[in-house]
C-alpha cells in the first residue's frame, strides 16, 4: 500500500508511530528518505547517478526497544503497511530497499552492549549495534568476536544475522550462523520470542536457523548473544605465488584436508593478482596469490605454520614470506575504500557463491564463460575467500568499465549477466549466494535453486507473516 503524503492515512499512521517511538524517531524529511532509498546495491546507485529517484520509504522509524518494534509491526499489520528493516544499509543485494514505500524500520537505536560473560565467553548486544563498535567493546574487555568482515564499520549485528554474513577469519571461527548462540526476534505479528539459549541441543529443530538469513522477511532480530574468544597470543600470516589458479587451489585444499585449522585462506586468481593485489597491496606479480594465517598460542601457531608452509613449498613458484601475508592482513579493508574499490561509472557485481572442492573450479570457469558470453567487454575476476572442510567460497566479480548511459539499458544488461552467471553456478553445484544474501537482486532465482523445497519456505513465510508486511518482494517471496 503506497501512502500519499496528502492523505488521512499518512497523518493517522504518523500519529500512531509517533505515539510509540516519539516525535524525534519518526522521520519524513527529504534527507533521511534520500539516504534510505539507496543501499550498496548497484541498481539504486545507477538510478541515482543518472538523475532518477529510487523509491523512498514513507516513514523512517527508529525504535529503541523490542517492545517498540512489536508495536510498530502491530500497527503495520493493522493497516497492512510494508515494513522494511534497515540496519547499516550496506547490503549489496537491495535487501533493505523500501521497494513499496511504507515503513523503513531503522534499528540503529538498538545499539547497546548488554552483557559480556567472561565465563561462558559470550556477549549479548542489541542487534542495531554497528559491528565495529561491538568488537571494540569486546576487545576492551580482553576478548574478540573474531568477526572481521569488510563491512565491519557499517553493518549491524542484525544485518549480519539477516544475511548470514561472514568475516575474514571465518575459516577458523565460522560465519555468523556459527557464532550466534541465541536471538530475540520480533515476529511479523508483533510477538517477542527467543530462540533456545544454546545452539547445540536435541530439543527439536533449531528455530534460530529459521531467522538466520531470513533478511527481514520473517521478523526483526532485536537482540543476540554471540560467542567471543580470548585475544590470540599471536596472529601470523604467510603468502605464496602459484603459477595458476588450479595449483593454488590444490594447495588450499590440502591445507584444509590436513585439518590444520587456519583462521584464513585467500586465493586470488591471476586477473585479481595483477590488478587489485598490485593496486592495493603493491605486490606486483603474475599468477595466483595465496595468503593464509593462523592465530592462537605461539607454539601451536608456529607448528601449524610450519606444516602449511611445507605444503605450499611443494608447488608454489615464489615464497612471498610473512611480509607478503602480513601486508594483506594490515590492508584487508583497504580493498573496499574508494578509489580502490569498484565504483561509478563502472558497473560491477559480486557473484559470490560456494561449492564443494570437487565443483568449485568448474563453478569459477562456468561463471566466467557466462559473463563473457553475455557481456564480452566485462572483466571477470575472482578470489576464494572462505574455506571449509568440504569446499570454499568464490568471490567472483564482473566489472564493466563503461556501462550504457541509459539506466534501463544498463540495468537490463546487469541483470542479464547476473541471471546467466548465477544459473551457471547452480548448474555446476553452486548456490545463489554465500554471505551477501538474496535480497531484491536474486529473489527471482530462488525457486530455481530450491525447486519444490521453496514451497516450504513460502509456507513458513505465510504462517509467520499472514499479511505479508515484512520486507515484501525480497528473497523470492511475494511482493505487494
Amino acid at each position: 500500500m503506497l501512502i500519499s503524503r496528502q492523505s488521512y492515512s499518512y497523518e493517522m499512521l504518523r500519529s500512531e508511530l509517533t505515539w510509540v517511538v516519539g516525535d524525534d524517531n519518526v522521520q519524513t524529511d527529504c534527507s533521511e528518505k534520500l539516504a534510505h532509498s539507496i543501499d550498496y546495491y548497484w541498481v539504486p546507485e545507477v538510478w541515482h547517478d543518472r538523475g532518477l529517484k529510487p523509491q523512498t520509504p514513507t516513514f523512517i522509524v527508529h525504535p529503541g526497544s523490542a517492545e517498540e518494534v512489536a508495536e510498530i509491526l502491530k500497527i503495520a499489520n493493522t493497516h497492512k503497511i510494508p515494513v522494511t528493516p534497515w540496519g547499516g544499509g550496506s547490503g549489496s543485494q537491495g535487501g533493505a530497499l523500501p521497494m513499496y514505500g511504507g515503513i523503513c524500520l531503522d534499528t540503529k537505536r538498538l545499539n547497546k552492549v548488554l552483557e559480556i560473560d567472561p565465563v561462558s565467553l559470550t556477549v549479548t548486544a542489541e542487534a542495531g549495534i554497528i559491528m565495529q563498535h561491538l568488537e571494540w567493546e569486546v576487545q576492551k574487555a580482553g576478548f574478540s568476536t573474531m568477526h572481521f568482515p569488510a563491512s565491519i564499520a557499517c553493518a549491524t549485528l542484525g544485518g549480519f544475522i539477516a544475511h548470514r554474513g561472514t568475516g575474514v577469519l571465518s575459516t577458523r571461527y565460522g560465519k555468523i550462523e556459527d557464532m550466534i548462540m541465541s536471538m530475540e526476534v520480533v515476529t511479523p505479528t508483533g510477538e517477542i520470542i527467543n530462540t533456545l539459549p544454546v545452539p547445540r541441543h536435541a530439543s527439536g529443530p533449531d528455530l534460530a536457523q529459521v531467522f538466520l538469513g531470513s533478511e527481514g522477511t520473517l521478523g526483526v532480530v532485536t537482540k543476540a548473544t554471540m560467542k567471543i574468544h580470548p585475544l590470540p597470543a599471536v596472529r601470523k600470516f604467510h603468502a605464496y605465488l602459484f603459477s595458476d589458479l588450479h595449483s593454488g587451489m590444490v594447495a588450499g585444499e590440502k591445507l584444509m584436508a590436513r585439518r590444520l585449522a587456519p583462521s584464513v585462506i585467500r586465493l586470488y586468481d591471476h586477473a585479481s593478482t595483477i590488478s587489485i593485489i598490485k593496486r592495493v597491496l603493491g605486490i606486483e606479480r603474475k599468477g595466483a596469490y595465496l595468503v593464509f594465517g593462523f592465530d592462537g598460542e605461539e607454539d601451536i601457531v608456529d607448528l601449524q605454520m610450519k606444516k602449511a608452509v611445507a605444503i605450499c613449498e611443494e608447488t608454489a613458484v615464489e615464497d612471498l614470506g610473512t611480509e607478503g601475508g602480513q601486508t594483506w592482513w594490515d590492508q584487508r579493508y583497504k580493498f573496499y575504500y574508494p578509489p580502490y574499490t569498484f565504483q561509478m561509472p563502472q558497473a560491477f557485481g559480486t557473484l559470490d557463491t560456494v561449492a564443494t572442492f570437487a565443483n568449485i573450479e568448474n563453478v569459477y570457469w562456468s561463471m566466467k564463460d557466462a559473463v563473457k558470453e553475455h557481456c564480452p567487454e566485462a572483466n571477470y575476476i575472482g578470489h576464494f575467500s572462505h574455506w571449509y572442510d568440504w569446499g570454499c567460497m568464490l568471490y567472483a566479480r564482473f566489472i564493466i568499465e563503461k556501462p550504457p548511459q541509459d539506466a534501463a539499458v544498463a540495468v537490463a544488461l546487469y541483470n542479464r549477466i547476473w541471471d546467466a552467471a548465477i544459473r551457471a553456478a547452480i548448474k555446476n553445484g553452486g548456490v545463489i549466494n554465500e554471505h551477501h544474501g538474496v535480497g531484491l537482486k536474486l529473489g527471482r532465482i530462488m525457486r530455481d535453486l530450491y525447486g519444490p523445497a521453496f514451497n516450504v519456505l513460502e509456507g513458513i513465510k505465510k504462517t509467520l507473516d499472514p499479511n505479508n508486511i515484512m520486507n515484501p518482494g525480497k528473497m523470492g517471496f511475494q511482493g505487494v
Binding site: L34, A35, H62, K108, W136, K140, C154
Partner: protein
C-alpha cells in the same frame, strides 16, 4: 558553486559506508543523513539540480553536520567530507538561503573588536568557546604562564567560517591579525582548538607562530598532577582530526597522570560537536544527544573524571551533564604547578 571543488568527495562518499561507524552525530541520532554518505548524497542531488540547494530539509542537514573530522581522518584516502559541508554552507549563504537563525547568530560574531593588554613576549588568546567565557581556563593557564600579553574581544573568525559566512569571517580575521601584529608578539598561544585550527589555516598570520596552550605548558616547569586521580581523556576534534596535534596527551603523560582514553577506541569523536561549535546554539537538542551518547559511555566504563583540551567540549558536557566532573587541560597543568 563552492561545492564543485569537492566533486571527488561527492563521487567517493555518496555510495561509501566505510566510515559510518565514526559519524559522530549519526551515532547519537541513528540517522543516515548524518553520515558522510548521507551528506554526499544530498550534495549530489544539489549538484544535479541546483534548485535543491533551497530544499529546507537539505539545508537543515547541512547545518546539523557536526564536522568532527573523524571520518576524514579514518578514510584511507582522506576524502575531505568536512570541506564539502563547509563549501555547501558557503553556497547556501552566498545564495541568500541561510536560515534566519543562522544569519542572526552570524551577526553576533561580525562586529567584534580586539584589544591587547599585559606584558610579555607571547600573546595569549583565551577566547575559549562560542557563547560563554570560561574564566577558569585562562586563569589556570595564566597561573602557570603569567608573563604574557592577552588579546581579547571575541572569536577571530572561525565561527563565521563554520557558518558559511566566509567573506565576513575574513573581515574579522583581518582585524584580529592587525591587533596581533600591533602587539609586537611573534607567538600567539590559544586555548581554543577551533581558533588554533583557524589561525593555522585560513586565518594564518604572516610571521606569527601559533601554539596550543598544551604545547606551551609542555615546556613549563611543572610537578605531578597524579593527585587528581584517574582521568579519562576526551580529545579535541580540531587538535586530533584537523591538526594532528598530540601535545595534550604528551602533557598529561609528562604530568604523571593516570590517563585512559575515553570509550572503547581511539577513533570515535566524543567532542560533542566541537567541529561545528555554533550547533550548540542552532540545534541544542542535537548537542544534548551527543552529550547523552558520551554520558552513556561514561557510565558503562565507570568514568570518574574527564580531561579535555577542548573548552567547547567541557562547556557542552557541563551544560547537559553537570553531574560529570570535567577538567580543562589547563586546569590539570595548574594543579601540577610547583
Amino acid at each position: 558553486m563552492n561545492m564543485e571543488k569537492y566533486l571527488d568527495v561527492i563521487n567517493a562518499c555518496r555510495f561509501c559506508f566505510m566510515c559510518r561507524h565514526l559519524a559522530t552525530l549519526a551515532a547519537a541520532t541513528g540517522k543516515e543523513a548524518d553520515t558522510p554518505r548521507g551528506h554526499a548524497l544530498i550534495a549530489d542531488r544539489i549538484r544535479m539540480d541546483k534548485a535543491e540547494l533551497s530544499n529546507p530539509d537539505y539545508i537543515r542537514s547541512i547545518y546539523q553536520a557536526e564536522l568532527s573530522g573523524a571520518c576524514r581522518k579514518h578514510c584511507v584516502s582522506s576524502y575531505n567530507e568536512v570541506g564539502l559541508m563547509l563549501a555547501l554552507r558557503q553556497d547556501i549563504v552566498e545564495a541568500g538561503l541561510a536560515p534566519a537563525a543562522v544569519s542572526e547568530l552570524a551577526k553576533e560574531f561580525m562586529d567584534v573588536q580586539f584589544k591587547v593588554s599585559g606584558d610579555g613576549d607571547m600573546l595569549y588568546y583565551p577566547h575559549p568557546c562560542i557563547e560563554t567565557h570560561q574564566p577558569e581556563i585562562a586563569k589556570a593557564f595564566l597561573s602557570v604562564v603569567p608573563n604574557v600579553k592577552v588579546i581579547e574581544g571575541g572569536d577571530c573568525g572561525k565561527v563565521l567560517q563554520i557558518l558559511g559566512f566566509v567573506k565576513e569571517s575574513q573581515a574579522v580575521a583581518v582585524r584580529f591579525q592587525a591587533a596581533v601584529k600591533a602587539s609586537g608578539c611573534k607567538t600567539i598561544v590559544v586555548s581554543n582548538p577551533a581558533a588554533y585550527d583557524f589561525l593555522k589555516t585560513d586565518g594564518a598570520i604572516d610571521g606569527i607562530t601559533v601554539l596550543h596552550s598544551s604545547e606551551v605548558l609542555l615546556k613549563a616547569q611543572l610537578g605531578s598532577a597524579a593527585k587528581l586521580g584517574k582521568l579519562t581523556f576526551i580529545n579535541s576534534d580540531f587538535l586530533r582530526n584537523y591538526q594532528d596535534c598530540h601535545a595534550p596527551k604528551e602533557l598529561l603523560a609528562k604530568l604523571g597522570c593516570e590517563v585512559e582514553g575515553f570509550g572503547a577506541n581511539c577513533e570515535d569523536s566524543y567532542a560533542c560537536g566541537e567541529g561545528s561549535m555554533p550547533g550548540i546554539r542552532l540545534f541544542p537538542e542535537l548537542t544534548r544527544k551527543m552529550v547523552a551518547h558520551v554520558v552513556g559511555i561514561a557510565k558503562r566504563f565507570q568514568v570518574e573524571a574527564i580531561v579535555t583540551p577542548s573548552p567547547f567540549t567541557k562547556h557542552a558536557l557541563m551544560t547537559y551533564a553537570p553531574e560529570l566532573k570535567v577538567l580543562a587541560i589547563e586546569e590539570v597543568a595548574a594543579a601540577a604547578k610547583l
